[in-house]
């Protein structure tokens, strides 16, 4: 039997322009939306009318000086802890993938220990380092020392907190970075090696930027987690925001509005970090997508442009223009 190509069969319809499209109906979607709206309205009503929230006190303290200063301490701990912890992860992850059993073992043990010890326990250990070691010496291992400092001078409460957060964070970051590294195609390293690109540059320029795509969503999770974990350092009497609101409500007894002050700040900071995440992820998506999705601002501009009767601003052109 021979195969002969046949023209497409007639569709049985008349000319397309005479047909009208009737959108499908979704009644359950309407029911669901109504329930959600009612719940949201109830909740908002409660927030506004229940005097227990004590909004005037909240407003009085939200941008009060000591609160804002404490907020900066929280931000400082979060960003420094995340940056140093990520740096630690970037060192620990390749070690865990190394061919040397010693490096592998070291990295594995580190991750094991620091993921096992609760952050709060670890922080208390660092704060009490002076009890274990009165002085710290820098010099030849097991040999003579050159510099000697008192532990209390070196490890301030803030230092202890940052150290604890960093070491804790490094263990988690290491696993996230490792997940990113093993997600990169082996052929990439092979191509780089075939070109004679030095090992460190292979990692920094070829592997890590591609690994970032897989690293970033988890890293953002970790960052937001860390933001909240900084509240644990109140045990070291460091004036971060959670400690500070406790100090204030210890004085005036208005527990709920002050907890709300801390809560709203955490929510605002998480929102800011999420925006940052969007742009960083977009940056590392270069080349992974044929065209980058428009940013919210570009989308807004496109909509406004259409409203004003302009055309052709639906998306960013390839490679052209900044993220804005």
């Amino acid at each position: 039997m021979s195969v002969v190509s046949t023209p497409a069969p007639p569709t049985g319809a008349t000319d397309p322009p005479t047909l009208t499209v009737v959108p499908a109906r979704h009644p359950w979607r309407w029911v669901g939306s109504a329930v959600a709206l009612v719940l949201a309205a109830q909740f908002t009503h409660g927030l506004v009318t229940n005097p227990g929230w004590d909004w005037p006190t909240f407003a009085g303290y939200f941008v009060e000086r000591s609160i804002v200063e404490a907020l900066l301490v929280t931000l400082h701990l979060t960003l420094a802890g995340a940056a140093l912890g990520f740096l630690g992860g970037v060192v620990l992850a390749p070690m865990r993938l190394s061919r040397s059993p010693v490096l592998r073992g070291f990295s594995w043990t580190y991750i094991w220990v620091f993921r096992s010890v609760p952050l709060i326990v670890q922080l208390l250990f660092w704060a009490n380092l002076g009890y274990l070691y009165d002085t710290l010496q820098f010099g030849v291992p097991f040999g003579p020392g050159f510099v000697e400092v008192r532990t209390i001078d070196l490890v301030s409460p803030f230092g202890a907190a940052l150290l604890g957060l960093t070491l804790h964070q490094a263990a988690y970051s290491a696993e996230i970075v490792r997940a990113g590294i093993i997600s990169v195609d082996q052929g990439q390293v092979e191509a780089a090696a075939a070109l004679g690109i030095p090992r460190l540059r292979q990692f920094r320029r070829i592997v890590l930027p591609q690994a970032m795509r897989a690293i970033l969503p988890s890293a953002a999770n970790e960052l937001i987690n860390l933001l909240k974990s900084t509240s644990v350092v109140y045990v070291l009497a460091i004036g971060e925001i959670f400690y500070q609101v406790q100090v204030v409500y210890g004085r005036n007894g208005r527990v709920v509005p002050l907890l709300m002050v801390a809560t709203v700040w955490y929510v605002v900071l998480t929102a800011l970090l999420s925006v940052l995440q969007f742009y960083v992820e977009r940056h590392f998506a270069r080349g992974a997508l044929r065209t980058l999705p428009p940013t919210p601002l570009q989308r807004l501009r496109a909509v406004v442009g259409q409203r004003l009767g302009r055309t052709g601003v639906a998306g960013p052109s390839r490679g052209g223009g900044g993220p804005w």
């Binding site: 052929g187 092979e190 780089a192 075939a194 690109i197 320029r205």
Partner: protein, 251 residues
């Protein structure tokens, strides 16, 4: 230019290369044929030390690859020296292995900058010239995923040329391409051959071998079964296994 002596390679218990001897003069084009699994890729990869040989020696341009010989001892080279040797040997992969997060231009300019042979500006200039040579000057700013398979492989060839290697190895450069894109890549290979580049090409494109190769090597089960000018090996194969393979490829 390239001299292989008694090259052996075993993966686990599977002896993939069983004593390969080859001599490839400078400026020559060698096509390696052979059935799947016969060790063609492994052989190419031993030439730039992506695979370490178990026994035997590889010499490229008078340089022992991967080792330093002192008396009758071979000392393994450190990674830095091996990388330096590799920079003189281009490698083009079957599936391109372009860096997807870099533009075509950045892909080509990366190695000369990384190995500190050129400044960034010089490297970009040379990369543009090379992209022009493979007919892609207008796509310099494109990312690999925005290019067709044939275009990607041409960028990969430009990338391999960027270090001005003494020798370029091609591992089935057209096997991952749609049939209508094979021609544009083979055209580039023909140009290189005409310009006197020393090339070793693993391919099933018999037409290309006939036209561009100085020597055709037929590999089977880790041994060189026969080698010679394309006219001899392709038209009058001496061995039954070569004949059987060619009859499969040519139909």
């Amino acid at each position: 230019m390239v001299r292989l002596r008694g090259v052996h390679k075993t993966f686990g218990t599977h002896e993939v290369l069983r004593g390969i001897d080859l001599d490839l003069p400078a400026g020559s084009v060698t096509v390696i044929l052979g059935p799947s699994g016969s060790g063609k890729s492994t052989l190419l990869r031993t030439i730039n030390h992506l695979e370490k040989v178990d026994r035997g020696t590889v010499v490229v341009d008078g340089q022992l690859i991967g080792y330093r010989q002192v008396g009758d001892r071979l000392y393994e080279l450190g990674e830095r020296l091996i990388l330096r040797q590799r920079a003189d040997i281009g490698f083009v992969f079957q599936n391109f292995n372009l860096f997807p997060h870099l533009t075509a231009l950045e892909n080509v300019a990366e190695a000369p900058v990384a190995t500190r042979r050129l400044t960034r500006a010089q490297a970009r200039e040379r990369a543009l010239a090379l992209l022009d040579r493979v007919g892609l000057a207008d796509r310099a700013g494109a990312y690999p995923r925005q290019l067709s398979g044939g275009q990607q492989q041409r960028v990969a060839i430009a990338r391999a040329l960027a270090l001005e290697p003494k020798l370029i190895l091609f591992d089935e450069p057209t096997s991952a391409l749609d049939p209508e894109l094979v021609g544009e890549v083979l055209d580039v290979l023909r140009d290189l051959a005409r310009a006197g580049t020393t090339m070793v090409v693993v391919t099933h494109e018999i037409g290309f071998a006939r036209e561009a190769a100085d020597t055709v090597v037929f590999l089977d089960a880790g041994r060189v079964v026969e080698q010679g000018p394309p006219g001899a090996v392709l038209d009058h194969p001496a061995h039954e296994r070569t004949r059987a393979f060619l009859s499969k490829v040519l139909t």
